[in-house]
């Protein structure tokens, strides 16, 4: 599973780095950033989904790899 943020859509609400701080961080202006490569480590899928579901701008995409 992989996550990515559309920086054109993100407005810096910060719900992702509030809810899933091991997967997301903020930049100097408060916009969300995917930490590392965006690959979701095993066991953290649930918090990735929570961040996606709570983004007010729907700026986070979750790519399920099969």
């Amino acid at each position: 599973m992989k996550i990515q943020i559309d920086s054109e859509v993100c407005q810096g609400h910060g719900r992702c780095y509030d809810l899933a701080p091991s997967l997301f961080g903020d930049d100097d202006e408060g916009y969300g950033q995917v930490l590392r490569t965006g690959l979701v480590p095993p066991g953290e899928e649930q918090s990735a989904r929570l961040a996606v579901a709570n983004c007010p701008e729907r700026a986070i995409e979750l790519i399920e790899e099969t």
């Binding site: 407005q11 810096g12 609400h13 910060g14 780095y17 509030d18 903020d26 100097d28 202006e29 408060g30 929570l50 579901a53 709570n54 983004c55 007010p56 701008e57 729907r58």
Partner: protein, 423 residues
């Protein structure tokens, strides 16, 4: 330090005594039909706007009024979001729905950038402010905020009934924003007056309204002069020195942004803290659950923000158009109700209920799109600390007299009198 010539003369003199713009007849009094004559300044709306909004959402869903020179009230989440995102057709040149429209040429800057700004200027004015308001930056205010909350409760000093709006909620954002702007903490009572004049004086005669706004800008200019003489590490000195497009900001931009930070920083969070305590005073099961399990607080405060979103914004229609079935005219107001959007059953399960452990909560309390509240991280920190300290110190409380609770009028909604019985 050399005198800053920008502020040597009052920047307001250049634009003359009477601000240009359009005034309309002031209409007040009871509303008979909320779909055709709505008013957010009437007591019925202030006391409980949610049944009105729910009714309109089902049968309208975009209400109209001839008051305020004409305006529209969308009540569905989808419509509120669409307008927030559509800066081509809806301008932010005034964001307080009143009886005065500033002239069109104030766009794209507006009187209080960046909230009053449209693209492309908006992005640059906003970029200046963002670093000071990140979650990381506002965390520096947390220890002082926590200490303040404790000292406010210490001052209750054994009273059985306290006014949580007057004696607790209002002081927290007032002190925090005064610290960030570098204003004397003792000036707090003046700030309350400025806030009420700006946000609740909507239907006053224009001359009276102008005179009251002048008092706010007189205060801000005095602070600017003091900061020019004594620069320090705060947002006022930062704005005085800030540059955009290779030059220092216009004096009206400096003062307008200070006005925004002061007004928007206080009333909103004061309202959010008060509304949350009001809810917990009325619903013992939620209060007991939060006291027993403080880890629920982050989810609970998002739910309070959804259900009691304090902020409604406004926009002005740019050109005549048909929009989602509404025959909109240029310069019609849009009352952009994030509270109404947040209670739309098409967007939220159990929309009318307060579910303090709601897991999926894509609410719009801080707006949507380019105008997302710049202070949202600060507001969340203040709300979290205020509730955390209150619940740890005062785990049991009820409404002392439900009929004595009063709510602010206008676009920012929260309790202004909230007598609670402690213990």
């Amino acid at each position: 330090m050399a005198a800053d010539e920008r502020f040597a003369r009052d920047f307001r003199e250049a634009r003359g005594e009477e601000p240009e713009g359009t005034r309309n007849e002031i209409v007040t009094g009871p509303v008979s039909d909320w779909a055709a004559d709505f008013s957010h300044t009437e007591p019925e709306w202030a006391a409980d706007p949610y049944p009105i909004q729910d009714d309109l959402r089902q049968r309208c869903p975009i209400a109209h009024t001839e008051r305020f020179g004409g305006g529209w009230l969308p009540t569905r989440y989808a419509d509120v979001a669409a307008i927030a995102y559509d800066t081509e057709r809806f301008s932010s040149r005034s964001i307080i729905m009143s009886n005065f429209r500033p002239p069109r040429d104030v766009a794209p800057i507006g009187g209080s950038p960046p909230i009053s700004s449209d693209p492309p200027f908006h992005r640059d004015a906003r970029k200046l402010l963002l670093p000071a308001f990140t979650k990381t930056a506002v965390a520096r205010q947390e220890p002082a905020t926590r200490a303040l909350c404790h000292s406010l409760i210490d001052a209750f000093d054994g009273q059985v009934v306290v006014d949580a709006a007057r004696d607790y909620a209002q002081h927290i954002p007032m002190r925090v924003i005064a610290d960030m702007l570098g204003f004397p903490p003792a000036d707090g009572p003046q700030f309350r007056q400025f806030v009420e004049n700006t946000l609740e004086g909507i239907n006053l005669p224009p001359d009276e309204r102008i005179a009251r706004m002048s008092a706010l800008f007189d205060y801000l200019l005095a602070q600017i002069h003091d900061h020019i003489d004594n620069p320090r590490e705060d947002l006022t000195t930062f704005l005085i020195n800030a540059e955009l497009y290779g030059r220092k900001l216009e004096p009206s931009h400096v003062a307008g942004t200070m006005a925004l930070l002061l007004i928007a920083g206080i009333d909103t969070t004061w309202s959010a803290i008060g509304a949350s305590l009001w809810h917990l005073a009325r619903v013992p099961a939620d209060r007991e659950r939060l006291v027993a399990d403080p880890a629920l607080l982050p989810a609970a405060l998002e739910e309070f923000l959804r259900a009691y979103a304090p902020v409604t914004m406004a926009r002005l229609v740019k050109q005549d158009m048909q929009w989602h079935g509404a025959d909109m005219k240029a310069d019609d107001w849009i009352l952009l109700s994030f509270p109404a959007a947040n209670r739309d059953p098409a967007q939220f399960d159990r929309a009318a209920e307060v579910v303090i452990d709601r897991q999926v909560n894509r609410h719009a309390a801080f707006g949507l799109g380019i105008h997302r509240c710049v202070g949202s991280h600060l507001a969340r920190m203040e709300l979290r600390v205020a509730l955390d300290v209150w619940l740890s110190r005062i785990p049991a409380f009820t409404l002392a007299d439900p009929s004595a609770v009063t709510w602010s009028t206008g676009q920012i909604r929260g309790p202004r009198a909230l007598p609670l019985r402690l213990g």
